[in-house]
């Protein structure tokens, strides 16, 4: 006899408790973002596209050796400047189709010249745009720039 009454009151109580929870959530700020208009800021250690600060590069070929998928290509030539020999990069390209974004090149670089930036919206219309990205070109990710926030400042050294 008492059980149905007990069940009735307990369910009414649980309804009130549940409604308290939902009204709290109604007035709490949303956890999702209005995505195309607002972007999620990326963490410092996010592994985006491979990027290069050309003046810092010492052409040690460490990144080329460590790259597990051979996504990087580097060639250089020696030039005479003021009676001193100096190495100069002729071509430094990055194949984003091969890259597995492991970050080993960033880890191994002695001068922190090569690094992974924070871009995450990297889709393009053609494969050709990803096959050989010229890392020496400062405008290489220009077409993706307006789509990504927190692009690190170009850091001349």
């Amino acid at each position: 006899m008492f059980r149905p009454i007990k069940v009735f009151f307990l369910s009414a109580l649980s309804l009130l408790i549940g409604m308290k929870v939902t009204i709290k959530n109604l007035f709490s700020p949303p956890v999702t973002l209005d995505y195309p208009n607002k972007k999620q800021p990326m963490k410092k250690n996010f592994r985006g596209m491979v990027d290069l600060k050309p003046p810092a590069c010492v052409i040690c070929y460490q990144c080329i050796k460590i790259c597990p998928t051979a996504a990087l290509f580097l060639s250089h030539k020696t030039v005479e400047q003021d009676a001193k020999k100096k190495n100069e990069i002729t071509k430094f390209t990055f194949n984003a189709e091969l890259c597995c974004f492991c970050g080993l090149c960033e880890e191994v670089c002695p001068t922190d010249a090569i690094y992974l930036n924070q871009m995450y919206e990297v889709s393009v219309f053609s494969h050709d745009d990803l096959l050989s990205i010229d890392l020496m070109d400062p405008k290489k990710y220009k077409h993706l720039d307006d789509r990504t926030v927190n692009q690190p400042e170009p850091n001349p050294q």
Binding site: L15, V21, T22, F27, P30, N37
Partner: protein, 317 residues
Amino acid sequence: MPGMGLLLLKGMAVLGFISTSAMFLIWWERKVSALIQNRMGPMATGWHGSLQSVADSIKLLLKENIVPAGADKLIWWLAPFFVVFPSVSAFVTIPFSEKLVPRDLNVGILFVTSITSVCVLGIFMAGWGSNNKYSLLGGMRSAAQIISYEVPLLLSIVLVVMQTGTLSMVEIVRAQAHGWFLLRPHLALAFVIYLISATAEVNRVPFDIPEAESELGAGYHTEYSGMKFAMFFVAEYTNLFIISAVAATLFLGGWQGPLLPPVVWFLLKAYGIIFLLMWVRWTLPRVRMDQMMAFAWKVLTPVSLANLLLSGWLMLR
């Protein structure tokens, strides 16, 4: 006929109100559900997605009308009209204010409850005509549920009629000039029973097993597309408004209130109850079919009968 123009104007005003109200309610429901689930909801069209329903209705107008193979064509075509017609007709007696009543019938509340019962017919026709197992199941469940919950619903309305001695909606509101019926204990219980059974009447969570998306694929309106689907949707949200408006009229003093104009008070009360129903909807899970029927026949009906008996005895004493 001289009164024809005015009648036409009234009808157009009601239809305009129904469509705007339904569109607003759909947007509001999406917004409330999103905020309760810590999402943002529609944001793209208009201010905070406020024009989303307009865009959706234009989309639905342009969509193709698909008739399923093997459908009972006549019944299939008629069903949406049978669902929309009662909910539009019920507006005849709803008093937005003392003057703003399409027509103050002396059987007002009886008219509303009887005309909204026709809705079951349309829902069952949609379920049968679609030639789809799930639609038929949804339609049968819906019919069973609506007919069962009509008993406690009417028993709680009878209490108000006993209190006032009239069936006219305007008279019922006038009888509450010195205090809402909600403030009297036996009518407060009737209000709770009314709200629960009205939630079941309009097939809303926690009583939405006829339209359960995961079990039945939206039940009786699975096979409908385009404008016919939109008609089911409009009818659903119009019914939601009607039950809230009736609750506001019977228990919350209708248009009466200080300072603000009567229409504003009435709409505030009606939309307040709608918000309460939305709040409950996004709090509770769905109940099982047998639990739902047991709740109607074993809990709500005896409680409302006992309430009726006790308050009738108290009134006569």
